[in-house]
Symmetry: C2
Subunit: 562 residues, 2 copies
């Protein structure tokens, strides 16, 4: 390829709205352009690299025995009504009507379509296991699209679905995908953690996320460096280290706390430590109200709450709703409430003589005790684990980091096969619902994640598997015949063996160098004034090493590098 | 690959709604499944072949110097309002709103997006010519989706756009794509015609369609076998062969034709030939009324009318509208009309003493003559050419056939660059609007077209470039060890060199044979009772030739076939 015939609109600066390095570099290197909020075009260089990522995924899927298909992006509402997700999905789903006023969505995911395919064409357990995947555009109307292609509204995903006759089969299919995902991330040279995860609105019992470690990640990971335990914050657990207090119960007293509402204010005012206060939050699922209690220095984990209460609809209650349970926003406590379910964290159970809200403005109670003053309806782990706490498996100290969720796999079980009636005949000729797994990996998000982990102040440093070209040949001064001729000679020699681009533009050499650093070509062959002696400079993007070399030795040097 | 691990749901019969052979065979061979009207999923076999078609297209685009990118399917309304096509596009465009109530469409085509990309990033004539393409799903809400993937609502298209500084550049870019399209169709072994075509609502001056010859084609082609002239019916011209009549003008007379309205009825009633009658049709473009006149045995070509009148909005007038011009539906003639433009076909100009409608119910006029009785506002070619007429270029007889439009290329000129303000600086430093071409080819329609031209009563006969597998190895009876073992041996030997599938299912051999014929694998290696003598049968799908062969000679035979 020649730069003069390529479309490589590099930029000195990215627009101010690009907050992350990957977003800035993808714009500056001319990989993507924005068409609307969360909607991007891929320019030639960007799409070339994206296809490399797709091919790595495709190879690993194929070698794991999954078969590639292509479902439609437009999906009929009827299917989603059968699975009962049409109403459940909410604002994130793009919906539209055709000319006959029939309802469709743009697929945010494809459980329904894939289940529909197999329910019509699979008859017997003998055709199982079956694993199908596609690489395709998905549509989610994100509340806040950001970070470029990292969180966009039209994005490319590999989503796959497995079908088995029993749990053992599903476990096997799941493990195969688990391993394939690890191979994909390794081939992309990514540093990552596999974490236990919540299944969210996809459903199912068992789920892992593949998290690329990065400061700009939107997810928090809790992990144990000792035993390898890792989970995302929504799911992570830590050991209960509090010992049941042996303090004698003191008399419950009402105290005025006129200007103190937050935990810190109350702690200051009453001169106690936050972990002697019990924090209460009121939630509603539109049917019933709930009060959740954790220690004052802990955070309530709403995902855990949703799971325990078997709902996905919990929302913080409004001031009016809080009044209905005979309480007051900012001063809620567990005593004397009306028509409410009290869920108490296991750590709270260990406490004695703690401070709680008085359910009146400017009032708290001290020396409150479970059993004597109130009785929780549910006691469970509802707090978020955090760095510095202890691992439930090995007792060592937990660490935390930020991660970019690039993959998510689920054991769905029979959730979709039952609602959509996807059954096969088993060995005994009985109809059995299929056991399903579902496996997603974000293709363009992977690209951004690679850049987050591989860049310097000059631009992107692609791993060898993804370099947009393998080699750039850069004549320093195209007006000097000996330089241009030698560069063209080298280009001719390389082009059948390597993916090479020659920079034949009439630009200042500084501009050229900057461009090739920015787009991250792994090796540059610079043809300058030493061309007279048939010598060139070879420069490696990653190490920044430079070396003067006989022109004849270029092929040899590249062979040994790649 | 093994059939036991593949997903190959073949059917004995396709559903009744599959009207064409390609639709029936794509369903029966398990290539596609319907998800909604005009919306399909591709199963593994279908998607495998589709990717082969895509790759052939991609190779030819790349070698023609076009660069692959990927635009979004979701396109903001603002862009389409800038080009003034948001309102123009009508019901065929899928429209939707996001959570903030902003309007989008699902791209039916991408002139706006590609023009937007270059207007932001192209600055100078030195970056030209530039040619960009993508292979992507397109969305058109067809009034009547049919013939499976041939006319569907979500379909895959390669669309490309070229950008040049002047007309010479555009001509060159256009010719390159013209040639690339011919190479693509040749590599797919298709019989086709390239025809001159109308530009329709895409716009521009110059346009060709690539028509695959087929009885089920929805387009009519007129062509001259002698000189190679070919055009679609909308655009085709034929030579005027009538000689100006030398008959003396006779007296204009009103005659009652009580029950005669159609040309045939009037001809019968008045005992004249249809070509002595002038047919009149009334149209409106919502601003003005038009009467079009052709010889009674000709058809009015509305596309030509639209082009001549520089509109795309002509519609037949209603009975009420016809009354407004002082006429009567079914009896319109060119005399004494009010506020109307009369457009007369060139053949009518040659006629004397002809019959016309009398603008009153049950009344015609005979012996009408141009000049004496009325004067047309416009005389032009407004009739449809037909088989049997003469070629305007060489005078030989024109033929006609049906065609499937698989490709369409346009010289757009500056239509989009002007409305979207896409300019570059020319040599003299002046802003100039880009000259654009646009080039579309229907990927899944090509697949269907290949099947229409390549099948027999047993199923699909893929050209070598598209076979889903190259070879099937079919053990006749998998329970007989010697057959299964020999088949497995042959499979092992072939699998690194050929794309081979072994049919290891415990099915009756008749079922297996039927499946492999149906899906159209080019060569079958049948391992039956001769396995004892280390012999197998080789069967060629296209020729139906069968040959007994030593197992050792299989590789050799395949080498010489492929």
């Amino acid at each position: 390829m020649r730069t003069s015939k390529y479309f490589l609109p590099t930029l000195r600066e990215a627009s101010a709205e690009a907050e992350t390095v990957s977003h800035q570099l993808m714009l500056r290197a001319g990989l993507i352009r924005k068409q609307a909020s969360g909607v991007y075009s891929y320019l030639p260089l960007g799409y070339k690299i994206l296809k490399k990522v797709e091919n790595i995924i495709r190879e690993e899927m194929d070698s794991a025995g999954s078969l590639e298909i292509l479902g439609p992006a437009i999906q009929p509402a009827e299917l989603w009504k059968e699975s009962q997700r049409w109403d459940e999905y909410g604002d994130e789903m793009f919906r539209l009507k055709d000319r006959h006023n029939r309802e469709f969505c743009l697929g945010p995911t494809h459980e329904e379509i894939f289940t529909d395919i197999v329910r019509n064409d699979l008859r017997s357990y003998r055709n199982l296991p079956l694993s199908l995947y596609q690489i395709q555009s998905k549509y989610r109307d994100e509340r806040r699209p950001r970070f470029g292609v990292m969180r966009s509204r039209e994005f490319i995903m590999k989503d796959g679905y497995s079908f088995d006759i029993d749990q053992d089969g599903l476990d096997l299919s799941y493990d195969k995908m688990f391993d394939a995902y690890k191979r994909i991330l390794s081939r992309l040279d990514l540093k990552y953690q596999v974490v236990e995860a919540d299944s969210g609105n996809i459903g199912g019992s068992h789920s892992h996320e593949f998290m690329v470690i990065s400061e700009v990640g939107e997810d928090d990971i809790i992990y144990c460096a000792e035993c390898g335990y890792a989970a995302n914050l929504e799911k992570a657990v830590s050991k209960i280290t509090s010992i049941k207090s042996e303090e004698a119960p003191k008399e419950l007293k009402q105290v005025d706390t006129p200007n103190a509402s937050s935990i810190d204010e109350v702690a200051d005012f009453l001169n106690v430590l936050p972990h002697n206060i019990v924090k209460a939050r009121v939630y509603t699922n539109n049917e019933r109200m709930f009060v959740a209690l954790v220690k004052g220095d802990q955070k309530i984990n709403e995902t855990k709450l949703n799971t325990i209460l078997d709902t996905s609809l919990l929302e913080p209650a409004s001031e009016e709703e809080i009044k209905e349970i005979k309480s007051e926003a900012g001063f809620t406590g567990p005593l004397n409430l009306k028509d409410v379910t009290i869920i108490c964290d296991k750590e709270v159970e260990k406490m004695r003589n703690f401070v709680v809200g008085g359910n009146k403005k400017g009032v708290h109670l001290i020396n409150c005790n479970i059993g004597r003053d109130f009785t929780p309806d549910i006691i469970a782990d509802i707090r978020s684990a955090k760095e510095g706490e202890s691992c439930t498996r090995c007792g060592e100290v937990l660490s935390s980091s930020k991660g970019i969720e690039v993959g998510h796999i689920f054991k769905l079980g029979t959730k979709y096969s039952e609602s959509l009636n996807a059954t096969v005949l088993d060995k005994d000729g009985k109809e059995k619902p299929l056991l399903m797994g579902c496996y997603g990996i974000g293709v363009n998000r992977l690209l951004a994640a690679v850049i987050e982990q591989n860049h310097d102040e000059d631009g992107i440093i692609w791993p060898k598997a993804l370099g947009p070209f393998q080699v750039s040949v850069i004549p320093v001064n195209v007006k000097k015949e000996e330089q241009l001729n030698l560069a063209e000679d080298i280009y001719d020699k390389l082009k059948d063996k390597f993916d090479v681009i020659i920079d034949d533009r009439k630009e200042r050499v500084g501009v050229k160098f900057k461009d090739h650093e920015l787009i991250g070509v792994p090796v540059q062959i610079i043809v300058g004034k030493n061309a007279a002696d048939n010598q060139v400079e070879i420069k490696y993007r990653q190490s920044k090493d430079k070396l003067l070399l006989d022109a004849e030795k270029v092929v040899e040097a590249l062979d040994s590098y790649f």
